[in-house]
Amino acid sequence: MNDAALLSVEDVAVDLPTPRGNLRAVDRVDLALGAGRTLGIVGESGCGKTMLSRAILQLLPKKARLTGRVMFDGRDLARCSAEGLRKLRARSLAVVFQDPMTSLNPVLTIGTQLTETLLEHLELDASAARKRAVELLAAVGIPEPEQRLTQYPHQFSGGMRQRVAIAIALSCEPKLLIADEPTTALDVTIQAQILDLLAREQRRRHMAMILITHDLGVVAGRTDEVAVMYAGRIVERAPTPVLFKKMHMPYTEALLAAIPKLEAAPHTPLPAISGRPPDPTRPLAGCAFSPRCRYASDRCHSEKPQLAQAEARDHRYACFHPIKLAAGVDA
């Protein structure tokens, strides 16, 4: 693993005990992210994206068990003390959640919520914190930030609330920002604005970012690297341009095909991925995608493919019958 990496996730697995048995939400994931770089994590609902981000932040549900190492800035977060972790958060690690309706406290003003983080972590005095809060709101594109400070979350629109959530996350200049589906709950027209805002602030502050989404279109132009997750595992990982030029994993191809196209004729049926993800409490012997994969062979049903190196550098995939090579390998 790259020593210079800001964040490296090594062999991380998350197990959740459920009444129906053990649920492996994240299955032996390896990731690395350099300072100032952007990683996109893509996958459908329930594939373990959010659990992976919570594992990185050490905000897993109490019953969850985490194995493996989460190295951040030379420290293993999984073994940090509660107090050490608390000090590290906000100043080094920050997160933007999916739904800005619930990620802000409904009974506190925006100003209170913004300044309390500043007062706690940056040890500013009240007037300096207020000034900084106004700057932050202005930076995320909120008009009349002075007046807005005294307002409550319900007086803001969804997009504005997400901007405030981003301002709070950015308030202590974190080194890593995890954006967990930051645009899913928003209007399509607002999505691009929020993504552009995140990209702009990321460049300006030179922070690393993990962008979690189910939309390959979102990560296409805005990330350096993409990891595709399926059933808790990373099934393909590559620098973004390489991935979009030559994907190997049938699941990635299926995800891309499922994006509606503007140039398609009206009423064209969308090539949705048939079937459902496997039950995570009953792991399959073979590749988790095999029941839904059109290239699947007997080997796929009985043996789990490991991440293999593709011909392009840094491109890894887990498939016995990668696309473009499918005809040659299949004997």
Binding site: L57, N105, V107, E120, H121
Partner: protein, 288 residues
């Protein structure tokens, strides 16, 4: 012990207030009555009142007059003075008992709802035990052993109020603690104390305070009932409940002796309910 139904009250009052957004004359009349009762109760010793305990055996059950504005009771004591001094007891018990319940029960409920686990099982279990214990027997036992006094009465009623307040606070905390803003606060490095006090308390305080004002109304009635039965404040101290109890003996000759304190209690309880619900409806920032 009377149990309160918070949700029902909310629905009834919330609709008209949201419609008009004006406080309305009823609200101001309720506020006026509460202020009047409080002022009279607080300034009772300096008001030009006759003593509430001086008996005038020659002037028993006297009708309204310039000397005794509201007449005298069965022992010739001034009814107005007894009403005002009774308000002190009723308000003291009615405010302090639910305050004890709110503080202890609210804190327990928030801790239980936030930390869950063994602490929650233990506290919920012990509250169930307390709820299952017959409140009247407990009150009787305590007053029998520790003596009848306003302090003992307030304490025992406060303790009996803890489970209900704890349940309200715990229920509110349970739903709130799973909301993303709590996880967001954790992600920003907030301590447990900060999350409980800054993030959760302002949210839990709203339903709890609305419940508190309803609780005040209920506890005034409970204190009245206990005094009526003779387990409340010891004579000759007057309380509205004991005045109704004493008035019962002369219902046929002078029904006003029972009805005047009953009317005072009715108006006060009604006012607390009106004010409580109106304040809750207009200060609630959680809309849509």
């Amino acid at each position: 012990m009377a149990t309160l139904e918070l949700s029902v009250q909310e629905e009834i009052i919330a609709a008209p207030v949201k419609q008009t957004r004006r406080l309305g004359t009823l609200f101001w009349m309720a506020v006026g009555w509460i202020v009047l009762v409080f002022a009279l109760a607080i300034f009772a010793p300096v008001l030009p009142l006759s003593s509430p305990t001086d008996m005038d055996m020659l002037d028993r059950r006297a009708p309204f007059s310039a000397l005794h504005w509201l007449g005298t009771d069965g022992l010739g004591r001034d009814e107005l003075a007894r009403l005002i001094y009774g308000a002190r007891i009723s308000l003291l018990v009615g405010l302090c008992a639910p305050a004890i319940g709110l503080t202890v029960g609210g804190a327990l409920g928030m801790l239980a709802g936030y930390f869950r686990g063994r602490f929650e099982s233990l506290s919920v279990g012990s509250m169930d035990v307390l709820l299952a214990f017959p409140p009247l027997i407990l009150t009787l036992a305590v007053t029998a052993f520790l003596g009848q006094s306003v302090f003992n009465l307030t304490c025992i009623l406060g303790i009996l109020g803890i489970p209900t307040f704890m349940r309200v606070a715990r229920a509110a905390t349970l739903t709130l603690a799973r909301r993303e803003f709590v996880i967001a606060a954790q992600a920003l490095g907030a301590t447990h104390a900060r999350i409980l006090l800054r993030e959760l308390l302002p949210n839990v305080a709203l339903p709890s305070l609305a419940f508190f004002l309803l609780g005040v109304a209920v506890f005034i009635v409970v204190e009245g009932s206990l005094s009526f039965l003779g387990f409340g404040v010891p004579p000759p101290i007057s309380s509205w409940g004991s005045m109704i109890g004493e008035g019962r003996e002369s219902l046929d000759v002078a029904p006003r002796l029972a009805f005047l304190p009953a009317i005072a209690m009715f108006l006060t309880v009604l006012s607390f309910n009106i004010v409580g619900d109106t304040i809750r409806a207009i200060t609630d920032p959680r809309q849509g």
